[in-house]
Amino acid sequence: MSPGNIAIIGIVLLVLLFLLRMPIAYSMALIGLLGFAYTSTVEGALSVLGKDFWGMFSSYSLTVVPMFVFMGTIAFHSGISGRLFQATYKFLGRLPGGLGIATCYACAAFGACCGSTVAGAAAMGKVTLPEMKKYNYDPSLATACVASAGSLAILIPPSTIFIIYGVMTGESIGKLFAAGILPGILLATLLAITVFILCKRNPNLGPPGESTTWKEKMASLSGVIEMLVLFALVMGGLFVGWFTPTEAGAAGAAGALIIALLKRQITWRGFINSLEETTQITAMVFLIVTGATIFGHFMAITQVPFVLSEWVGGLGVSPYIIMAFIIFGYLIAGCFMDSLAMITLTVPILYPVILKLGFDPIWFGVIVVLVAEMGVITPPVGINVYVIKGVAADVPLETIFKGIWPFLIAEIICAIILIVFPKIALFLPSFMTW
């Protein structure tokens, strides 16, 4: 049997195991091991196994994950999500759909301390949904708005998806983080505009809130400003080369913890919960990346990624048409698969194709994160929608999914803008010469 056929059988079996509820990480490791053993030798496959587990678990590059996750959990347990929402609401609340608009920007700001879409949606949902309910916001608009904006956490640095993309491709995590900032602000604005247009057309969806004085606006900034300055310093330090990504994460986590302790914003229970959430997310991410690495070895030995990139390169079709197909494929796959799994599975295969087509790999990283964001809100496996359903138990799932469409269109528009103007993503990384 040709290596190409073995690879195709491997991918089909992998999808089958996914559908049979085998954890994604286990499935990739199992198929990777069996495929490698079949294509090469059993001894070779077994020896790769121990080395891969040691190599990935002790990888310095991946230690950035627990540090940034800890920073996010500390920020969450110190109640910053609530204070961010109050601040953005005081500034934007009087606009039509003001609470929704404030939610979009508060989610963007929370994304600066948190790198997980689920955590972003859960944290902001708990804070914003009761407020929107109080002001008689349409449940579909309110829930869909938080579910969509919550995903900004993986586009605005720090981001677990960028870290994983960086580790898998060898691209600079610092540059990827820098590349996510402007697209993140653009997407937050597009989501806010979506809320504004919807509420302007039908004011009953989201009535304007009360206007506030400048004194109230300024007062709302206390309690968030020091955290935001800390994150700006940490990210700034990473961008100018003061810190490695792991050091930036550790500095951010230490700073967030010190601020939370000094201002008495975190309890002992909150601290322990932060640690427990950190180890859980870290274990999940590391095991998936290790599984993907083993699967990647199998793919590499069959040479499928290289054959695919040669084939695509020889098609003679515009690279943008191929990119459109890749994004469409991601969009469909995102409906059925977890974003993290989708990325770890596809990036090793698609990365050589992207290089062959002449696209910038940092820019592609941003596109991948953007389609991952779409994946977390599209039915039937839109994880953020389920998270929001958990927060707003009285809103039916269909109602949330119905409200998602305008926000999904905004995300697609954002992707089109980034394809037409890649400089939006590449502008900030271009200043990083190291």
Binding site: I24, L33, L49, F53, W54, T63, T246, A250, A283, F286
Partner: protein
Amino acid sequence: MIYFERFVNLFTKFCDRIAQIGVVAMLLLVFGNILGRKFWKPIFGAYDYVGFIGAVIVAFSIAYCAMKKGHIQVELVVTRFPRRVQGIIDSFIGILSLGLFCVITWQCIVYGNDMRRTGELSMTALAPFYPYIYGIAFGCALLCLVILFELIKSVNKAVKG
């Protein structure tokens, strides 16, 4: 079965606590290294030790993560099947998973033995790798225990419906 469940739960939770201490240790080491580099001198071998602590964090938390159903899986299809069919499918997947992690545990021990025999050391700290590789083997063995526990539950579900 209740005692087995209680034991697995408590022991994996205890190991997760060690992983949590690892997170704090990593934070202190990396942050201490930044301060040391700026104001005095960097901590010797910090880069190596961060990797070692990373291995401890993951090895000691994967089992508790599995216990808490933290490893991502696609629930879309199987949840639509009758309870007994779900039990059969989960049993099959449980056997595959158990086999996989038994092999991984075995290979980590083999790799750790190799490293100990050859006396492989880290670049700067000159610390041996093998204790941490044995740590990963221990974590995977613990994960086998969790998978075994879940497998027994799935078989019960398949038999009793």
